[in-house]
Symmetry: C2
Subunit: 399 residues, 2 copies
């Protein structure tokens, strides 16, 4: 019996492989500060469980393949706040943003087709694109440039006749970079010129700091037929375990073909859609408090990071990740050392090495990602441990 070449070529989660060292460290009694995970500690709004508990049908039946109508409507209303003319038919509910991406790539890609993605990128993109038979073509960004990627010449350089789409996360994971309006325009124009789709993963939309505007590619009127938005309740409402996301697009040919896939898997979980509806019906003021909290955490983390000698780091504008370039040869080796050899008062730290987030071999060896989803004092202590560890690491002659 054979397994497919495509599945064998996929990688395991590049973050998860270091878990074994963290588990061992804890077994030895060390406290590990987890700066590696994207699981927010913000409480899920009570409205979710209240709505779920009110479910009183005797049969937990299949829902509509496109999603509960009331959830589609609640999401359409949410987008109206951004001046976007989104209707029920433009919204397809999915099993998290993950399934949205997976469906989109299946709709767009045949064997060998290419998708441009700024690197470093959320590694699961590689999995979804490979599963659809396609290929990731990275657009390389640099720590020193704040991981910005909206340069027409750099993007056009890697476009071929196999290129079908530009896929991006805005605000960015893992970089936290937010596109300016001008940058969005650059990408829109490249997409128009080369007749490409824009797949805009905007699950961090509300996490835009320093007064930056919350935006969507769906606001650019002249490209609305080529924009496919991926969205989700996971980060927005701290409801990762609900697995409710959606595809939003004004392109009815895309939506109609995505519906074939949706019908294939029948429907999304009924209870979670009921809960998600209640979340989308929350007053928009809900986001202010959450945003303020994350912004304060970002500032605290950034301040602490800048105390590390030789570090390269630019304060990100959004999401809840921050990229750090350390004066080490390998952030993976350093992490293993932190977990196995180092402690300060019985404490150490875990982050996400970022090498596996690059499509180009050899890049990102000295970079890492911190998720600022813990309370401020833990974040600061975690970064302090990185700094103290690095001092020791250098003293011991490691590079």
């Amino acid at each position: 019996m054979k397994l497919s070449q495509k599945v064998q070529a996929m990688q395991f989660s590049p973050i998860r492989k270091f878990n074994v060292y963290a588990i061992e460290a804890k077994e030895k009694g060390k406290k590990v500060y987890h700066l590696n995970i994207g699981q927010p500690d913000i409480k899920t709004p009570k409205a979710f469980m209240e709505a779920v508990k009110n479910f009183d049908s005797h049969v937990l039946a299949y829902a509509e393949s496109g999603g509960l109508v009331q959830l589609q409507d609640a999401i359409a209303n949410y987008f109206k706040r951004f001046g976007m003319d989104i209707e029920r038919k433009d919204v397809l509910i999915t099993n998290g943003g993950s399934e949205a991406l997976s469906m989109i790539y299946t709709c767009l890609l045949d064997y060998g087709d290419e998708v441009l993605i700024p690197e470093p990128f959320y590694t699961n993109y590689q999995t979804f694109i490979s599963a659809a038979g396609g290929k990731v073509v990275p657009v390389t960004t640099k720590a020193e440039e704040g991981y910005r990627y909206a340069y027409a010449d750099r993007i056009e350089k890697v476009i071929t006749d196999k290129t079908r789409a530009i896929s991006l996360v805005n605000p960015g994971n893992p970089t936290g970079t937010i596109l300016t309006r001008d940058e969005m325009r650059v990408i829109a124009d490249v997409a128009k010129k080369h007749d490409l789709w824009i797949i805009a993963d905007e699950v961090y939309r509300e996490f835009a700091y320093d007064g930056r505007e919350m935006t969507s590619f769906g606001q650019l009127e002249d490209i609305k037929e080529r924009v496919i938005i991926v969205d989700s309740v996971s980060k927005r409402f701290s409801a990762c375990g609900a697995r409710i996301g959606c595809i939003v697009s004004k392109n009815q040919e895309l939506m109609s073909n995505a519906m074939k896939l949706a019908q294939g898997r029948l429907c999304c979980p009924t209870l979670d859609m009921i809960g998600a509806t209640a979340l989308y019906e929350l007053d928009p003021s809900y986001f202010n408090e959450v945003r303020t909290e994350y912004e304060a955490r970002r500032d605290a983390v950034y301040e602490e990071i800048m105390k590390i000698p030789g570090v390269v780091c630019q304060k990100p504008g959004g999401a809840f990740y921050i990229m750090v370039k350390l004066p080490v040869e390998s952030s993976e080796d350093f992490l293993v050392w932190l977990l196995t050899e180092f402690d300060d008062g019985g404490e150490t730290v875990m982050y996400a090495p970022i090498q596996g987030f690059y499509g180009t071999e050899g890049l990102g060896r000295d970079e890492l990602r911190i998720a600022y989803v813990l309370k401020k004092e833990d974040l600061v202590r975690g970064v302090e441990l990185m700094r103290l560890g690095l001092e020791k690491y250098k003293e011991l002659g490691y590079k």
Copy 2:
């Protein structure tokens, strides 16, 4: 912008396209008996919602990618009842049986690889296999033979060097056919001889009537490395809206590669996994009542069907579907006529035409599927309406 050839080649649900006629009929005041849908009316055990309501974490967080450990264990225990040595590591929780199938095909199929499936088959198999880049190769069965397919010569005739797996549903959807132990042996031996995987969708396992044994391909010791079981709570516990299924296999190479896909989509919905755990922990006696109810329905439906002159129908051994071959040229045309032109005392009936369930062009034009998931008197009245409709149809000179 292009859409993929594979998604464009996929069909919409062949059942759903007739919904528009049913809706119109209802708008005109007709009562429509829905014998077309596979949504059971059996109550979901209360244990599900009770467990869900007890969830009291403040954050609805991501679960493990492979599923909640307690659910994996509950499923492993469930399989032990069948004498199968299933452990936690052999169980991967999925978003319904649908995602289980989708992941399996992605794990096994590269572009152009083939999967043998007895036809008529559950149409979504086509969607999942196409999405994975593969091709369905049907093994044709006949109404007159009770849709049996375990004939080595017929299966071997369609095996090529591209064949990777035999995929089957047992008890069958749409045919209700149950394999005997001898027939399972035939299929196992063909799989061994040609080094194929066996993908056994066994979501209807408990729905085996007339004292037939509940079985699993996992019970055949000599092929346990090549068997991949698909399972789900949807039909078993009348919890279709929970979307909780699983892949079960002793083949660790398969499980480990499927885990890459599971990590890609992060996890299944936490609350539904909690509810599903409670379902799997129910006493096995739960199934007796449900089985007795379905068996009585099958008998009532079958008796009523046999009153139709010229019908071909064999009493199925399991699941909750029954196939009917009518003396008409097209069961699709007849259905549209029933919905638009016919009524008896203001009532008419809807069934699932089966042509779209065949991979071979032109087959099944005179066949249909009835799902016996309504209460007995409604089922009997529905079939009576088919008979009365057919009389009128013939009187009017239709063929």
